[in-house]
């Protein structure tokens, strides 16, 4: 479904991603972990289409199409979703109106009729229940005055409404207390589907306790340096990222020695 081949990306001349390779198949849940500054969020934003990043090398295909050639809106309508680490507040745009526009734009793109008011309302109610979202939030402007937890719930709610093929959750656990984390994780789990892949980007193990990824990758200096099953996350939690750094240092040293 998603195939990332040797992606290099830079912002303002600074190289952040240094050759990432990753294959994600439908139904799989992948987690990318890594220390601060390793390039996790950059990867998410590059996939979502943020234009500030310059792709200097590599390619990404999504369901067989060249993802990097597509505008952010086309990526979304093709089924890519990103839950942001810092969802932006947009005063003056009502949440309901925004979500309705988004849902219908996607339907239009796929040649479907726009949802009528009744069907839309029904769908919203159903999806709001997934993340225990308060209905009063819908009449407010997007994320305006929402608490950290409400913002993250709103992201998962939007994911539920848009039913993506691939959802990227960028540090969705950050800033959440245990209860909010549980609610968000429950929502994500209910959205797991054999046709839907999920890419979780996180710093900590705790979200993964709930989401149980199939694969865990460690990102360091813009490159995936280790991949494994969910036990890798536990190992990281136990030993910290330093053990990865040491290991890489060691490898580099060995390579240097050979050379």
């Amino acid at each position: 479904m998603l195939s990332i081949k040797n992606i290099h990306a830079a912002i303002e001349g600074k190289q952040i991603l240094n050759g990432i390779n990753l294959e994600i198949k439908p139904g799989e849940v992948h987690a990318i972990m890594g220390p601060n500054g390793s390039g996790k969020s950059t990867l998410a934003l590059v996939l979502a289409g943020r234009e500030e990043y310059e792709i200097t090398q590599g390619m990404v295909t999504f369901s067989g199409k060249d993802l990097l050639e597509m505008s952010p809106e086309d990526r979304a309508r093709e089924g890519l979703f990103i839950a942001f680490q810092y969802p932006v507040e947009i005063p003056g745009v009502s949440t309901t109106n925004f979500i309705k526009t988004a849902v219908n734009e996607k339907r239009k793109y796929h040649g479907q009729e726009a949802l009528d008011a009744v069907a839309f309302l029904k769908l919203m109610k159903e999806k709001m229940a997934l993340v225990n979202m308060d209905q009063s939030l819908l009449s407010r402007s997007i994320n305006e005055g929402f608490s950290g937890g409400e913002k993250k719930r709103n992201e998962i709610f939007q994911m539920a409404m848009l039913e993506p093929k691939l959802a990227i959750l960028d540090e969705t656990d950050s800033g959440l207390d245990i209860d909010a984390l549980r609610v968000v994780a429950k929502g994500v789990n209910e959205l797991r589907h054999k046709d839907r892949a999920i890419l979780i980007i996180t710093h900590y193990q705790r979200l993964l306790d709930y989401l149980q990824p199939d694969f865990v990758h460690v990102l360091y200096n813009g490159r995936i340096v280790r991949s494994g099953g969910k036990e890798l996350a536990l190992e990281l939690e136990e030993k910290g990222y330093d053990f990865i750094k040491d290991e890489i240092g060691l490898t580099a040293g060995v390579q240097a020695g050979i050379n």
């Binding site: 952010p72 979703f81 947009i90 745009v93 848009l162």
Partner: protein, 438 residues
Amino acid sequence: MVDVNHFKDRFKQLQSASPDGQIARIRLKGFDTFSKTGLPAPRNEEWKYTSISGLFNDKEYHFAADDGQPVFTRSDLDAIRLPGHQGANELVFVNGWFMPMLSAIRSPDDQLTVLPLEDAAKGIYKKQIKEHLGQSSRYIKDGIHALNTSFIYGGVFIHVAKRRELQYPVYLYHLSDAREHHTLCQPRSLIYMEEGSKMQLVETFKTIGTSDSFTNQVMEIVVNNNALIEYYKIQNDAANASQVSTTHIRQIGRGYAHAVTITLNGGIIRNNMNLILEAAGNEAHLYGLYMLKGHTHADNHTLVDNREPGCLSNQLYKGIVDDNATGVFNGKIMVQPQAQKTNAYQSNKNILLSDNAGINTKPQLEIFADDVKCSHGCTVGQLDETALFYLRTRGIPIENARAMLLEAFTEDILDQVKPKLLRKHVKQLIREHLSIKK
């Protein structure tokens, strides 16, 4: 250069045809000023960013009088009628002259009186005319304002009776006939709100025909104790329709004013919005939204003159400027020495959408009292890229996302348009302006 002599002949004609005492005297004073100052040039600080003299280059405007009574049909009029007109007092001006025959007064006589200025000057409202017509000349001494005063004729006097709250709003429609000639319109009005009265006043402008029109308007509003005026100006005319529109609100009693100016399309537009707070404890709120594209130039000059203690005023003007359009905001707050405990706030926010668009924004605070709260702020920026990206990642195409954000930017001004039908209408105009489909 503008030929003062051209206006001189006209002025003489008007004075000899209509030598009524009071108004003729005001005109004469006006023409004196105009003859001395001519049209404002950019060296005049108040006109630094807006040049209107070019509108008179190699161009002769017809005056209302040139064509006698220009005839518009009902359907011409229908094109400009605002929603809710069935329940409104509709006052029609053609080429600057009030046309009683085309107008409809729906409020009862004991609430609202509408008279040609000349008639009002002779009858029971003589005193109000004498005391209040032409007061604005004390505040605006430039030639273009004097030009309107030189030609006060065919204007209107609107009187709202004591403790009467008009159920029906007053709509003013200004039609310019530019079918055969360039047309100069100089509407003049005096509005007198008695103690405890309430009125919603809405005005809009329409040029019919493809020649140029230039409207040079002066409106003087007098607000007494406990009276409340809501005033809405909607400017959405042709690209070659220019105007200088001066609204002068004097709150001589402790009253309340709420004014919203919406500017969408036009040529060169200059709005002077003057609030003179002449009684203690007055309250005034001024709002403006200008959404400019093409080559439209819109200049909003506000003045809030605090002359007595304890007045509160708030100003919020917002602008979106695209293409080669330019905007100006000049907000002047005066606090006179005796006006202690003044609260005066001002804010101007702008979004520039193109490299060729421009905005000049200038707060001007002149404070001569020491116990006051005044603030001002202005911003000029671009559309929030992060917000735009957020919307796009949800599948909303960039044009729609942009329009959504721009519409959101206009929201707090739109909310200040209190009459529901009018608000809906303005919202629709904004959406059309942003090319948002229903």
